[in-house]
């Protein structure tokens, strides 16, 4: 079967690899640069690599040249632009949400609106603003603790949180927030849509549940957790994720089976709600980026209409014949499929050049080298991200260059990942977080703390009940 993969990062590398394990598959790819990991797979399966911008027009062009049996779309942006619809128009099955369905990720305001309309648990109070002035005014007047985000998906950029517990500081925090509203608003500019969303702020450990949906059947995958702060020990600016963990089993050590089930229920109801609104069946993956909070227990922070990156690198290698599940999802044959998960947990470290995420220019254009056989010899694997094969060199593109994956208990994996790092060399300093997977105990304590609150709320029937008040803003 000819499979055309669209996208250029570590997530697409992981997807491509899972599909290449079925020996009859030929992997073709369309990326904006040559990803060395995808290239290796394309070459070994006798496919072809296409370079170009990932636009519907370009995809149409490549489809006509490859005539694939299936399309796999990795990143969110092509989904927002209707790339999976291009496949389906030609009668080719595609793994990837339609343009309309991908709106669950693209518009955070729509996602919240949907949750309230269909009374899906785990929803938060929100306000949407079309002008920066209104948003800034609301923020500087308001009394509660707030999360301020671009109203739509902006690659995780621009999220600010302020907590109002420390009232004596709130003026300064609010001022900084109001100042950065301009920046936050600039990340999402869509004609006729709100620019900024302000939500009540919640606290607790985060985790992600990915769910496959073929339009009729849905199948939840093992949980994963990603780590957003750029630097060691969870300090530093927000990134797309500097690493992730998944497992053991279907859970994470700090999330219990009931919470998993409730989370699945939330995502399931979301899929039905989306399908009802758009009139199109949901085909591909949908993920709830969750937080376990005192307010609700499982609470939705946002949705993904695709695999999270680096969560994909933690989840996919743990699933047997994942490529087969991708095919079944795209073709509507998920019903009756077996999900076989490696019991061992996985640990993923992202490696990025110094400069990421605040100075992408500084982080770009550096050479990096890796002794791949040596890394694989010690039982780790590498997915290539923001790094391009230029001639015989690997050159950084400004974001997370590599994702290293290891299965096994966290301590042992950490040792092996540290060893792997010694097989990687670069003319720029490399940033990676060795604390990923070693703060499980702290997460467990955090989870236990919010569990006290939400179980008590549950018994009193006050799950999700909250409000804020300010002299100027009134009750909200």
């Amino acid at each position: 079967m000819k499979v055309l993969i669209v996208g250029d990062g570590a997530r697409e590398n992981a997807l491509a690899k899972s599909l290449s394990l079925e020996s009859s598959n030929e992997i073709f790819a369309l990326s904006s640069y040559i990803n060395p990991g995808i290239k290796e797979i394309v070459d070994s399966t006798k496919g072809k690599y296409f370079l170009g911008e990932i636009t519907p027009e370009q995809v149409r062009e490549v489809i006509s040249r490859v005539n694939p049996d299936m399309g796999v779309i990795g990143p969110e942006d092509p989904l927002f632009r209707g790339v999976s619809d291009e496949f389906r128009k030609e009668g080719i099955p595609a793994f990837g949400a339609s343009k309309k369905n991908a709106r669950i990720e693209e518009s955070k305001v729509w996602a919240r609106w949907l949750m309230w309309k269909y009374e899906i648990p785990g929803r938060l109070r929100y306000k949407a603003f079309s002008t920066m002035e209104e948003a800034a005014k609301f923020i500087s007047e308001y009394g509660g603790s707030l999360a301020v985000k671009p109203a739509g998906q902006a690659g995780g950029k621009g999220v600010k949180v302020i907590a109002d517990i420390q009232a004596y500081l709130s003026k300064d925090k609010r001022q900084a927030m109001a100042k950065s509203v301009n920046e936050i608003g600039s990340y999402y500019n869509k004609e006729g849509e709100p620019k900024i969303i302000v939500e009540e702020k919640v606290d607790g450990p985060e985790y992600t549940l990915h769910v496959l949906s073929d339009g009729n059947t849905i199948m939840p995958l093992p949980l994963a957790q990603d780590y957003k702060n750029a630097y060691q020990d969870g300090i530093g600016p927000e990134t797309g994720g500097m690493g992730s963990v998944s497992g053991p089993g279907f859970l994470l050590p700090f999330i219990n089976q009931d919470e998993y089930d409730e989370t699945f229920e939330i995502v399931k109801r979301t899929v039905s709600a989306v399908e009802k609104e758009t009139g199109e069946s949901y085909t591909g993956v949908i993920a709830g980026q969750m937080m376990l909070t005192g307010l609700w227990g499982p609470t939705v922070i946002e949705y993904y209409s695709r695999f999270g990156d680096p969560e994909a690198s933690a989840i996919i290698p743990r699933i047997q014949d994942f490529g087969d599940l991708v095919v079944r999802t795209a073709t509507g044959h998920l019903s009756g499929a077996k999900l076989k998960v490696d019991e061992r947990p996985s640990l993923v470290w992202a490696v990025s050049p110094l400069g990421y995420p605040l100075d992408r220019k500084l982080a770009s254009g550096h050479r990096i080298s890796i002794d791949l056989p040596k890394v694989r010899e010690i039982g780790c694997d590498v997915f290539f991200g923001s790094v391009a094969l230029e001639g015989s060199f690997l050159v950084t593109k400004g974001s997370r260059a590599l994702e290293l994956v290891c299965l096994g208990d966290f301590e042992e994996s950490k040792r092996r990942l540290l060893k792997s790092m010694s097989f990687i060399d670069s003319d720029v300093k490399l940033i990676y977080r060795t604390d990923i997977g070693s703060t499980i105990q702290e997460q467990a304590e955090k989870a236990e703390i919010v569990r006290y609150t939400y179980t008590s709320r549950k018994s009193r029937g006050t799950l999700g009940v909250s409000a804020d008040w300010s002299p100027n803003g009134g009750l909200w």
Binding site: V159, K173, A176, I235
Partner: protein, 402 residues
């Protein structure tokens, strides 16, 4: 004794001066007779202000910036070199030379000096450099404020006060270099853990996590140990505020003797042991401790304090308690006897000023006017803390560096 703090915002839109101000107040229990801050402006200028006041009263004036350091203690910090400013917890003798070397090459400077002090510094090119002494005598922690700031501080109390979160303690001998693009850890010396016993007994705040321990729980254990070592027949247990209150609580829990709140305060808290002149000490204690009559009247009292230096404070207190009708006053001290000076900058006075170094117990009881007086044993302290990687120099005269 000093409280140190350093804050760096990853986005220069932040003006962190309020964060620095409140963060510094969060460590002012470590020393408050002098304070100061240095802030780095967007243009790359370091400006410093210092005054002989507590952090609460420090005027920032026009000082603004996106990164900065702060000091609360008994010395004149921060001191500024050309493109660097630093503040020290501990004893740094040749300041000028060290700062000059630090500015040139921080790692080399520390390697060469092998300091027993802990410091934070800020450089003009936007780095916060923090080093914890290889003996772990002084505490130092690192934390964050969301996606916005990195914070280093003597104690996590300053992170909590501004809404940040402790990530971990900096290891003894470790240097942390923070800038907008990275947080880097350099292990310069292998840790030779000699955690300061005084941190555990009274320096650190009770809501703090310092030197691998929750301070509140540890202090309850000290009280429990005192109960095991000195079970006294009494009607009431009272702890001298603030530090000795958890000791009294532990003692009360263990013995079943009810605890009373024996004192309230006039004015703001002043730490008698840190007060610089005798007048302040005498006035200080009267301001500090106003005994509450019903807590003592017609009662046999166990009075617990954290330490004893000259005994002045306790003598006055015991005198007041008798006047209010205490039938017996038994004194327990939540630390072993302090007998030697601290070479690392903890304010333990000279031997000649230390009553415990000069008089036998029965004489001390006579001076204080108490029915009995006992100190926590060294073994008791070890067991309450739960490890022996300690500097107990002020109690034993044995120091890790000599």
């Amino acid at each position: 004794m000093a409280g140190l703090i350093g804050i760096l915002a990853f986005d220069k839109i932040w003006n962190i001066n309020k964060f620095l101000y409140y963060g510094l107040i969060g460590v002012q229990h470590r020393g408050y007779s002098k304070s100061g801050v240095s802030l780095l402006s967007e243009e790359g200028l370091i400006r410093t202000t210092r005054a002989s006041v507590a952090p609460e009263d420090l005027e920032f004036g026009e000082l603004e910036g996106w990164a900065g350091i702060g000091y609360a203690g008994t010395l004149n910090y921060p001191v500024q070199g050309k493109g660097i400013s630093m503040a020290v917890d501990g004893v740094l003798k040749d300041q000028e030379k060290f700062i000059e070397e630090l500015e040139k090459d921080p790692i080399e400077a520390v390697k060469r000096a092998k300091p027993t002090f802990t410091f934070v510094a800020i450089t003009r090119d936007g780095k916060i450099i923090a080093y914890r002494d290889y003996l772990g005598l002084k505490p130092l922690s690192i934390g964050g404020f969301g996606f916005d700031m990195a914070i280093v501080s003597s104690e996590m109390t300053s992170m909590n006060v501004i809404g940040g979160e402790l990530r971990r303690e900096v290891e003894p001998g470790e240097m942390v270099i923070i800038d907008r693009l990275n947080v880097e850890s350099v292990k310069l010396f292998p840790p030779e853990k000699n955690y300061c016993s005084i941190e555990y007994i009274y320096q650190a705040r009770i809501d703090s996590f310092v030197d691998e321990r929750e301070i509140y729980s540890l202090r309850l254990r000290i009280g429990e140990r005192l109960a095991e070592e000195y079970p006294i027949e009494a009607d009431s247990v009272v702890g001298v505020p603030d530090t000795a209150v958890p000791f009294a609580l532990g003692y009360s829990k263990k013995t079943g003797i009810p605890m009373d709140l024996g004192f309230t305060r006039t004015g703001s808290p002043i730490r008698t042991m840190l007060a610089s002149d005798d007048f302040t000490k005498v006035v200080g204690i009267q301001l500090k401790l106003n005994p509450i009559k019903p807590a003592f009247f017609n009662k046999r009292v166990v009075l617990i304090d954290d330490s004893m230096v000259t005994g002045t404070t306790l003598k006055n207190t015991v005198f007041s308690l008798r006047r209010l009708g205490a039938k017996e006053v038994h004194i327990l001290i939540g630390s072993p006897k302090l007998t030697s000076k601290c070479p690392y900058g903890v304010a333990v006075p000279e031997e000649k000023e230390l009553i415990a170094a000069n008089l036998p117990d029965d004489e001390i009881a006579k001076v204080i006017g108490a029915d009995s007086i006992h100190w926590l044993s060294l073994e008791g302290l070890y067991s309450a803390i739960g490890h022996r990687s300690l500097c107990m120099g002020c109690m034993t005269g044995k120091y890790p560096t000599r």
